[in-house]
């Protein structure tokens, strides 16, 4: 089973976690166009390769954190807290 490193609990099997999807999505101004708002809600880069995403240790401490993971190999490149800046590798692939 894939193992994830929870920043608080350490290495745990992946079925203790839920993936919350793409991280670092910024909400646009509330007076934006319908297109911008629709893209904010639904549009996704869906990269083939490195993906910065949110995970929650649902069946453990319940905390959210960020993971930088490869969507092809599933290799985890970084685990960082919700308030931490994106790692350099994530900055290169994300706007």
């Amino acid at each position: 089973m894939m193992t994830l490193n929870c920043p608080w609990c350490g290495a745990r099997p992946d079925n203790e976690f839920n993936c919350g999807g793409t991280s670092h999505i910024q909400r646009p101004a509330l007076d934006c166009s319908d297109e911008t708002w629709g893209d904010y809600l639904f549009g996704r880069t869906n990269p083939r390769g490195l993906h910065a995403e949110r995970w929650r240790h649902t069946f453990g401490c319940g905390q959210w954190f960020n993971v930088l993971r490869d969507t092809v190999s599933h290799e985890i490149h970084a685990v960082y807290r919700m308030t931490d800046p994106k790692p350099q590798a994530a900055r290169e692939i994300l706007p």
Binding site: M1, M2, P13, D14, N15, N18, C19, G21, T22, D34, E35, W37, G38, D39, L41, F42, G43, R44, T45, N46, R48, H51, E53, T71, V72, S73, H74
Partner: protein, 427 residues
């Protein structure tokens, strides 16, 4: 590049019939190849990217319904080798909303006539699909679902526990069952289809009408004139076309991004597995939403079963052990006698999931570029209608009536068709 032996003018027997089977050469070497191995031409009226079921069906209906035969299907590997070859072969139209019901039932109706239409046995077996209920709430929910289907003009029948037991006696009816079966609902027209035959049948039909099926030809970019897509760059050179359509399921985001289009799609792995072959033990499809797993038996005797998505974005084409374990545990619980079977193979396909679990069949917003995607976990059952409606759009420039509600604009207007509630499995 695959090279097929015996491919010469002498191999001309192409119609599949009892007479031709009888009249064929002693070792059957005079059968024509099912489709031509085409070399890409520099220019086509329409290019379809993706040689899966949807792409091949689009090409077939373009030629058959609209007389547009200067068409190429570009496939990066071999036809039918993606999700068309990785699904659990189930067809059904037990959807909740009118727009979905119309679309999915049109696909099922086309499947019902497809073997004759294509002169290719797709082995449709309308063995019925039973959804089981394990609680009072399940029974209420299934009643609502069956009534919605009936309102949409699609046959559905509510079953009591005894009726379910008669249809699928190997289900766990023990008094100690963890998920007691209180009843169910059946769509009798649902069933299974031989998946490869759908790809091969459409390929053969399209090729016979003049469509070029080009394998080992990956699209690497789009050729644009101003804002308009006028062709594609491929690993086998540039190919121009008036219209380009994409039918690439889990790779839709990647391909569309090459044309500057951003989609509301996330790619996930959906896994399935088969057991070793056994004698006939299950002649319907059974689905239990409570355990999130469904089962059928193939003509070869394998028990074919699958479950929920791996809800982690992935292009890996392999499922996680966590979901395998969940599906196997559910199998041992619901069919105790299957607990002794050995698993022969386990695999996954990369599915294109959108937030409302409904497809996108229409324009991308970029002139000349069209898309068929977003079928998520339900692409196989909709191959005929995906092809039919996309072909209509490519040929006439207008959305097919069935595809009208399934436009990309709905993610801006908010007019979603949230079929997630009616999917067989809560993904």
């Amino acid at each position: 590049m695959a090279v097929y032996p015996n491919m010469n003018e002498l191999n001309t027997r192409s119609k599949y019939s009892a007479w031709n089977l009888f009249a064929a050469a002693p070792s059957h070497q005079d059968w024509a190849p099912a489709w031509r191995q085409a070399e890409p031409k520099p220019r086509y009226d329409a290019i379809i990217i993706g040689g899966g079921g949807h792409g091949l069906a689009t090409a077939y209906y373009l030629a058959k319904n609209h007389g547009v035969t200067n068409v190429a299907v570009l496939e990066k590997a071999w036809i039918g080798g993606g999700n068309t070859g990785r699904n659990t072969t189930i067809v059904r139209s037990n959807y909740l909303y009118p727009q979905s019901a119309r679309l999915y039932d049109f696909a099922l109706k086309l499947y019902e006539g497809l073997s004759t239409e294509l002169n290719f046995n797709i082995m449709l077996s309308q063995r019925g699909l039973i959804t089981t209920a394990h609680s009072r709430h399940d029974l209420d929910n299934l009643s609502r679902w069956a009534n919605a289907m009936l309102f949409n003009g699609i046959e559905a029948e509510i079953l009591n526990a005894q009726q379910v037991r008669e249809l699928a006696p190997r289900l766990n009816f023990s008094p100690n069952a963890r998920y007691p079966i209180l009843g169910g609902v059946i769509q009798r027209r649902a069933g299974t289809v031989r998946h490869d035959a759908v790809a091969w049948g459409y390929a053969r039909g399209a090729s016979a009408l003049g469509v070029d099926i080009v394998q080992d030809c990956a699209v690497t970019g789009f050729i644009k004139q101003g804002n308009r897509v006028v062709g594609v760059q491929t690993t086998r050179g540039e190919i121009r076309a008036d219209k380009v359509a994409m039918a690439v399921a889990g790779n839709s985001s990647q391909l569309a991004a090459m044309a500057g289009v951003r989609l509301p799609v996330t790619s996930y792995s959906l896994q399935a597995m088969v057991s070793e072959s056994v004698k006939p033990v299950l002649d319907t499809v059974v689905l239990s939403p409570a355990v999130g797993t469904y089962w059928s038996q193939s003509d070869k005797g394998e028990i074919v079963f699958g479950g929920a998505l791996d809800l982690v974005p992935s292009y890996a084409q392999r499922g996680s052990f966590a979901i395998s374990q969940q599906v196997l545990a559910a199998t041992a619980e619901m069919f105790p006698s299957f607990g002794r079977l050995r698993v022969l193979r386990q695999w996954a396909g990369t599915v294109d999931v959108v937030q409302d679990s409904s497809p996108i069949i229409g324009s991308t917003g970029v002139p000349g570029l069209y898309i068929n995607c977003g079928w998520g976990t339900g692409g196989f059952k909709t191959i005929p209608v995906g092809g039919w409606t996309l072909a209509h759009l490519l040929a006439t420039g207008k959305n097919h009536e069935l595809a009208e509600p399934f436009q990309l604009e709905r993610f801006h207007s908010g007019r979603l068709i949230d079929e997630a509630g009616a999917a067989g499995i809560a993904h």
